[in-house]
């Protein structure tokens, strides 16, 4: 059991959790993740660690409510506990001094981008972060990213904040105006990582991406998280989650991510109906 110390809504359907996990807080490195189970019926949800405070013994997770489990998690209050938190899992991000590094976070992917930006900066890189969101209300962690970066470029699909357009546009502009950065790290929706990687491949910029495929155990046992990287089969949970963006078969990954969509929607819908019924019952005077 791991106690939730804080649960804050930081954007529409996006919560920031501070969770007591002293040992993980000490051990985790940038790029690693945990697997969380909300209750005893819960599925195992892989979530990248967004931050950690070893002194306080906490880790920070930023989670978007997209299905039953994550919606259920959003209802938890400080003082409640998660049934299980296991980690740190996965290999840490390879951090070295390369010069100028562009860190791209798309949507909820800004959360896992945060420790990467921190680590790259700590290693002596000039860090330019590009943050992308559909709209201003969905933009998260801008302040934290500003602290972790030398420069931040914000872009939204609808232009409500920063530049209008996708992160790929911002990256293309950056390359056109200031030349090629030495390294790009991208994390976010799979199509975003795909198009970032296509662009950087054209320019020959080394690019790493952080993948979050469907997985069960997170220790290399089930193989559910397998991805094709340079025509080799890799398990994202132990071989990754970071891979060379120029070698990942993103189209395959997009299909694999969608496999349980129908079932997940069914479970989510049933939960919402049950919640509505319960609140109706409570609202009706007896």
């Amino acid at each position: 059991m791991n106690e939730i110390l804080e649960n804050t809504v930081i954007a529409e359907s996006v919560n920031r959790y501070v969770i007591a996990a002293p040992k993980i807080a000490q051990r985790r490195k940038a790029g690693q993740f945990v697997i969380v189970r909300v209750d005893e019926h819960g599925e195992r949800i892989p979530l990248t660690i967004a931050d950690a405070d070893p002194a306080r013994g906490t880790i920070t997770l930023v989670v978007q409510a997209v299905g039953k489990s994550t919606a259920q998690m959003a209802t938890l209050k400080p003082g409640d506990s998660l049934r299980d938190v296991v980690g740190p899992l996965g290999a840490p991000t390879h951090i070295e001094r390369r010069g100028t590094a562009v860190v791209i976070g798309g949507g909820i992917g800004i959360a896992p981008a945060h420790p990467i930006a921190q680590a790259l900066k700590a290693a002596g890189n000039t860090v330019i972060s590009i943050l992308g969101a559909r709209t201003q209300a969905l933009l998260i962690m801008e302040e934290e990213m500003r602290r972790a970066s030398d420069e931040v470029i914000v872009c939204t699909d609808d232009g409500t904040c920063g530049l209008q357009g996708f992160v790929t546009h911002a990256l293309a502009d950056l390359i056109a105006q200031r030349g090629k950065p030495d390294f790009v790290f991208a994390v976010g929706p799979v199509p975003m990582m795909k198009y970032v990687s296509l662009l950087t491949k054209e320019h020959g910029i080394p690019t790493m991406v952080s993948l979050n495929p469907i997985m069960v155990d997170g220790t290399g046992m089930c193989g559910g998280c397998r991805v094709t990287v340079g025509s080799e089969m890799k398990f994202a949970c132990v071989d990754g989650p970071d891979f060379d963006g120029h070698l990942v078969d993103f189209d395959e990954l997009i299909k694999r991510q969608a496999f349980y969509k129908e079932q997940e929607q069914l479970a989510y819908q049933q939960m919402q109906e049950r919640c509505q019924a319960e609140s109706l019952a409570q609202a009706t005077p007896s």
Partner: protein
């Protein structure tokens, strides 16, 4: 299950002459009918009623030099416990079993008795062997159902402490024996539940999870601490464990699924057996959406492989509602590594055996879900290294089968997480196993012992238990003497 004893009948049976005993047929264990059990996850056999167990026990000839014991990897005093069943002393019988095997409810269900104790049973030379496994299961169930399970006494505290990595059959057995010898034990388990393969791998209908939980509870009552969600190699290394433990036992199992590197293997609906079974057993996907973990809804499933795991997967798929389940195996039935009982149960449940077939590639639909498996027919050639005749493809014999789910059950390698992160631990380059002296269960690294699948590659629950037991003795020797380089531990 009937518990009623008939004292007169017990006496009559005891007075039988050996010749008359030989006339008693092997007693059948009642089980769910195939068409009923195909629609549920409850255990298939119901266990023996008490009087039936006594009748079966009377078939034992109480050999002076019991061959059956030779066939038991842990050397249970089989004639001893069977003789107590004959007397109706079930409590005595289960105590006798537990002198050597602390987990009889599990072994009675999942041991391949037909290849071990029962294979050597003298009665079996002229007919059917004594149903030793069923009797073992009977006494263990009887004890649990009567609330008589008592943790064995623990030894006087030695002040030494052992870290056990993994709570599967090897780790649990080692932990029990180490507590009996008075050492402190902490088990580190990567998953959120104990039992390892007993929990995530073997299905509910073959080994109810309540039984695994009951056995683990006994281990905990002996004072063994279990740390869940604790992945050694990630949260801590073996060297760090050695800072607070005097020895470490590695029982991390065969947690690395093999694939065949075929085109289309990453299509949706293609699973490893580990994933399919873990979703269903550990995560209870068969209760979805009551439990949150989904599993593919399937009409037509192909299972690749011919071992016990393949049978477990095929029978699980049937229970999840698949109309057609094909078991695709490249050799013939005679070479199948699965237990006869499992093959028999699978056939009864309507699993279609595609023997001497091998998958060549998987074909997907526009959404990326598998929709066909292309197979090639095989024939048996010259014997290979395993002594079995090598399957050879028949040129031009390819054909396709329509499927919506494929489960690859061709075996597992040792999980590399611990070997990869432990300095000074020699690993077999070809098999990925931790190099282990199988007499002493000692590895190349001082203070580190190993057993079960991590030491020998995927094998059986009982072999893992045997390793756990041997390791406990060897660890005890090491902790008492401090001597590491030994060839044998008495």
């Amino acid at each position: 299950m009937s518990d009623q004893l008939d004292p007169h009948e017990i006496e009559r049976l005891r007075s039988l002459k050996p010749k008359e005993r030989m006339q008693i047929p092997r007693q059948q264990m009642p089980e769910q009918a195939p068409d009923v059990r195909r629609a549920n996850f409850r255990e298939v056999p119901h266990g023996l009623p008490a009087m039936t167990a006594i009748v079966e026990a009377n078939r034992c000839l109480a050999c002076k030099k019991p061959a059956c014991v030779e066939g038991c990897p842990v050397g249970i005093d089989i004639p001893g416990f069977v003789a107590l069943i004959v007397q109706g002393d079930f409590e005595g019988a289960v105590r006798k079993v537990k002198e050597t095997n602390m987990l009889p409810a599990i072994c009675g269900r999942v041991c391949p008795q037909e290849a071990q104790c029962e294979a050597l049973c003298v009665v079996g030379k002229r007919g059917d062997p004594v149903a030793i496994g069923r009797l073992e299961r009977f006494v263990a169930d009887w004890e649990r159902e009567h609330g008589l399970v008592e943790p064995p006494p623990t030894g006087a505290p030695t002040g030494k402490s052992v870290g056990v990595v993994g709570s599967g059959p090897a780790g649990l057995t080692a932990a029990i024996d180490l507590r009996r010898l008075g050492h402190e034990v902490t088990i580190y388990e990567a998953l959120h539940a104990p039992g390892g393969v007993l929990m995530y791998g073997i299905p509910e209908f073959r080994l109810p999870k309540s039984i695994v939980s009951a056995e683990v509870e006994v281990v905990q009552r002996m004072g063994v601490q279990i740390e869940y969600n604790y992945v050694i190699g990630q949260i801590e290394t073996v060297d760090e464990l050695l800072e607070r433990h005097d020895a470490v036992f590695l029982g991390t199992g065969a947690g690395l699924p093999w694939f065949m590197n075929l085109p289309g293997e990453n299509l949706n609906g293609v699973y490893s057996a580990n994933e399919y079974l873990t979703r269903c057993n550990l995560m209870r996907a068969y209760e979805f959406p009551y439990s949150d973990t989904p599993i593919a809804a399937s009409e037509r499933v192909a299972v690749i492989g011919g071992g016990n795991v393949a049978m477990d997967v095929a029978r699980t798929a049937a229970r999840l509602g698949a109309k057609e389940v094909y078991l695709i195996y490249r050799r013939s039935e005679a070479e199948m590594p699965a237990r006869i009982e499992e093959i028999h149960h699978a056939r009864e449940e309507g699993i279609v055996f595609k023997l001497l077939h091998n998958p060549v590639r998987y074909i997907g639909d526009e959404c990326g879900r598998v929709c066909q498996v292309e197979c090639i027919r095989m024939e048996l050639g010259e014997p290979d290294a395993s002594g079995r005749r090598r399957p050879v493809p028949v040129e031009g014999s390819q054909f396709t089968i329509d499927v919506d789910t494929v489960v690859v059950a061709i075996g597992n390698g040792p999980n590399p997480l611990v070997p990869k992160t432990t300095a000074g631990l020699d690993v077999d380059a070809r098999h990925g196993t931790v190099k282990t002296n199988l007499e002493t269960m000692r590895t190349s690294k001082r203070g580190v012992f190993a057993g079960g699948d991590i030491a020998i590659g995927a094998a059986t629950v009982i072999l893992a238990m045997g390793h756990g037991r041997k390791a406990a003795r060897s660890i005890d020797h090491f902790l008492r003497t401090g001597v590491w380089d030994v060839e044998k531990v008495e």
